[in-house]
Assembly symmetry: C2
Homo-oligomer: 510 residues x 2
């Protein structure tokens, strides 16, 4: 209800702060009472030239006196306010989208226009942390139906920038995460690009794992490429591997994620919209979704994995993106390396033909599916073509092109990658078979050792699941860039160990 109430005059006091989120003013409680407003309510701040802007109110008796208003630098700049200047404040309503957030809290289905309004208010920074948290919580509890997910995806796409490429076949992959060492992207991209497909891959940095693809690729070359560069490189050589955070493909999503993170809440519909919007923004038309299933991944049961897979495929269909979702084994780390430098070395070793373990195998499986989807390989021959692309050196050649175009050294080899100065071999205390390696503890251990901030920190496994170990064998190496972090990692190991040996005797009863 838009009602012109009345305004009160106040004097500007410039405060040396910026909020990042919505604009905020601080008022004296007596002035708030005068306007009939409370903390977190909104006021219209009316400047000199009939400009006005809406801000959220906080209360203070310390920073401003009665008849003064404290304004942040951002707000002062927007309205061109000077210290001591007289301006007017007027009560204002919450943004319209708050009605729709409330609707979702009441478990009602949102219309397309309502979802667009919410997403618009998010990118315009019109919603407070409290309101955003309520929205995320409501989506988490009451879920979005397929129509809502579609609208959310489209609204996020429309909120950001888009890239169009020259070639017709734009492929992409996404992994919903949780598996240590899972650097398949850095193999899939050069394999596919070497086969004539176009793959402008934007990846994330790690939030809770030991390394993200962007962290690992950064060992080889810069990854914070602007949009124009992503476009020109991809048009030229068919691929990039960059950090998605450097470009503004889905700004609404970036803001939502900042609230999801502290709540450890990933509303299913929002996760799908977030992934699919970023793929659509770069014009992908063939996409695979890797859904690792395991005790430490986001999806723990086949039933849930299947439901999520179906939803991804359905939204892909609605957006005109041919999508295949693959439920993969996610109960243990992939490959033997964890941490940016060690993982980058493993990728190069694989491309150089030196090793071909489960990292190479999984990458060729994934690449194979996309080769078949796009008609580059016949049904059933995708894996073989992918593997051949590694064996004949074309994938390595393409990877070197990518590295060079992004500003790295194209002469890089697995041997030229520098490793950490501090290292500790962790030995097996008994004989047996490796039964399990925990993703969660592996990631945590690598993080304590300094990964991903310290590029050279991480783990390297000598033994993986199923292998036989003797007492005194090296289970894995811990790498760190300084002594303190290596010691922290070792002392953590005393309490929790990522590797579990098979127990033959389950229990002994006397």
């Amino acid at each position: 209800m838009e009602v012109k109430i009345y305004s009160i005059p106040v004097k500007v006091k410039l405060l040396d702060l910026t909020t990042g989120g919505p604009l905020v003013i601080v008022m004296h409680p007596n002035d708030m009472k005068e306007l009939g407003i409370n903390i977190e309510d909104r006021v219209k701040v009316c400047g000199a030239n009939n400009d006005d802007i809406t801000a959220i109110v906080n209360e203070t008796t310390r920073l401003v006196k009665e008849d003064e208003v404290g304004v942040s630098l951002e707000l002062a700049e927007k309205l061109n306010l000077k210290e001591g200047q007289e301006i007017f404040l007027e009560p204002s309503s919450p943004p319209e989208s708050m009605l729709y957030i409330k609707k979702k809290m009441n478990d009602q289905v949102l219309e397309k226009s309502e979802i667009y309004k919410i997403v618009n208010d998010i990118i315009e920074n019109n919603l407070s942390q409290i309101e955003l948290a309520a929205f995320v919580t409501a989506m988490y509890i009451n879920d979005l139906n397929m129509d809502e997910v579609e609208y959310m995806t489209r609204a996020i796409i429309d909120s950001g920038e888009k890239i169009k490429f020259e070639k017709p076949l734009i492929v992409d992959k996404h992994c919903i995460g949780g598996v240590a060492g899972n650097r398949t992207t850095m193999l899939v991209v050069p394999i596919l690009a070497a086969n004539g497909l176009c793959m402008p891959k934007t990846s994330s940095r790690s939030i809770t794992s030991a390394a993200g693809t962007a962290d690992t690729m950064e060992v080889l070359c810069p990854v914070d490429l602007p949009l124009e560069k992503i476009k020109s490189i991809t048009n030229k050589i068919g691929a990039v591997i960059t950090w998605g955070g450097a470009v503004s493909l889905a700004p609404a999503d970036d803001i939502i994620i900042k609230v999801e993170h502290p709540l450890r809440a990933d509303p299913r519909g929002q996760v799908i919209a977030s992934v699919m919007a970023k793929k659509a923004s770069v014009g992908s038309n063939h996409l695979i979704i890797d859904i690792p299933m395991g005790p430490d991944t986001k999806v723990k049961t086949l039933k849930n994995a299947k439901a999520l897979a179906d939803d991804f495929v359905e939204i892909g269909k609605r957006l005109g993106i041919k999508t295949e979702a693959l439920i993969t084994k996610g109960d243990q780390p992939i490959g033997r390396a964890v941490g940016p430098a060690l993982e980058a070395r493993a990728v190069l070793r694989t491309l150089e033909g030196e090793i071909f373990d489960d990292l190479g195998e999984k990458s060729c499986e994934l690449a194979g599916v996309l080769l078949e989807m796009t008609g580059k390989a016949e049904k059933g021959n995708g894996f073989d073509l992918a593997k051949k692309t590694i064996e004949n050196g074309l994938a390595l050649k393409k990877m070197r092109e990518i590295i060079k175009m992004q500003g790295g050294k194209s002469t890089v080899t697995s041997k030229s990658i520098k490793l950490a100065e501090y290292k500790k071999n962790v030995l097996s205390k008994r004989e047996g078979y490796i039964e399990q390696i925990s993703n969660k503890k592996t990631n945590l251990l690598a993080r304590i050792a300094g990964s991903p901030k310290d590029k050279k920190a991480g783990l390297y496994f000598h033994k993986v699941v199923g292998e036989k170990v003797h007492k005194g064998d090296i289970l894995f190496e811990v790498h760190a860039e300084n002594k303190q972090k290596l010691e922290s990692a070792i002392s953590y190991l005393e309490k929790r160990h990522p590797v579990v040996l098979k127990k033959i005797i389950i229990q002994s009863v006397e």
Copy 2:
């Protein structure tokens, strides 16, 4: 999982700000990466004397450089930090209660100890706005069962101060609100105290209505009484009418309400816990809950009103408070006056025996129930005793005692109350019967006229529902303390009118 990771040294930069809520530090993004933390994560801030304290992290590149940390004045004071001093930061986990908030988000039932932990973290200021908003939203959507409401009530009681009175019969009333002019408390309290009951009434100020009981009582005397004063006055004369916000009876609740307000969300269980905790804190053992039902009140249907009434009674039983919940007519304002001074005058007029309209009638009904519950009146005679207490002047005498003890003038009369300088008579444009007066529009109009900040602002109805009006009759007066606000109110009236005349012809078809 409590894992000692490692710490980084940083130099203190004192920032001239206070947060009010949880402690906050601002860090440079490079240091955040070094610690492996994100915005809204927590760190342990370790000071000089092995003291440490947990704070929530915000990011800035402007306020601090790398290897610096910006700390608020509150935090600096707690750890005795000086500008430039070296301290250590260490990643820290979210408070344990975040697990239980997540549990409620997942629609699981919380244990007693879990609810206590949440309430404790709320009053210790350990939860961020995002986390609190998620908790409120989760309670709103997933609701609390009766056990959870009981534990929440007890946890809130235990979080605050308590008062014990000398007399055995402590009575109280609470209205869940939404009805304009509904100042029954100011009649019920003196009636009951005059009959020997003890009624230490803490009331609220208005948030969205034209006036709360505390705003209105404040016309007659101060209402921000400290705990000791509430105790001594009540022990002496049997009653007070004070502002609850001046005492710390339920600090946890005060914090939760600050988040509920911007979301316009009143989780049912939380509302019950909030009300009952405040009553239990002052040792009430006989209680009535007034649940007005109407289109603009919180409860719109008899079914919902009944369910809420049942829950209040059930929690009362569990706490040992004899509770009766009364579903009352809430579709229109009570009495003729809206706004603090006008309502205070109406209360005094009623006590002086000058008028006895629906305000007097409702007050005697409510008082009557408590007189019967406590055995002061026989079943069926409560209303009569209450009305007699007005007629024989004892209620007025008691009210004057209360006003005097709280620091007001005991010689006050309805005629001595000063009214506003600016007044506008709003006339009827046609003949008819008053069909409806909207609470919502009445409240909003009075607020635009300046109520409750301007004590003398408000409305006075010449005609109420059911009464006959002629063209040109005065429907109501608008009072304001200045011209601008009176004009704002009048211009609002042109768009929306609180008074609806009965339509004889529903529709005309040609």
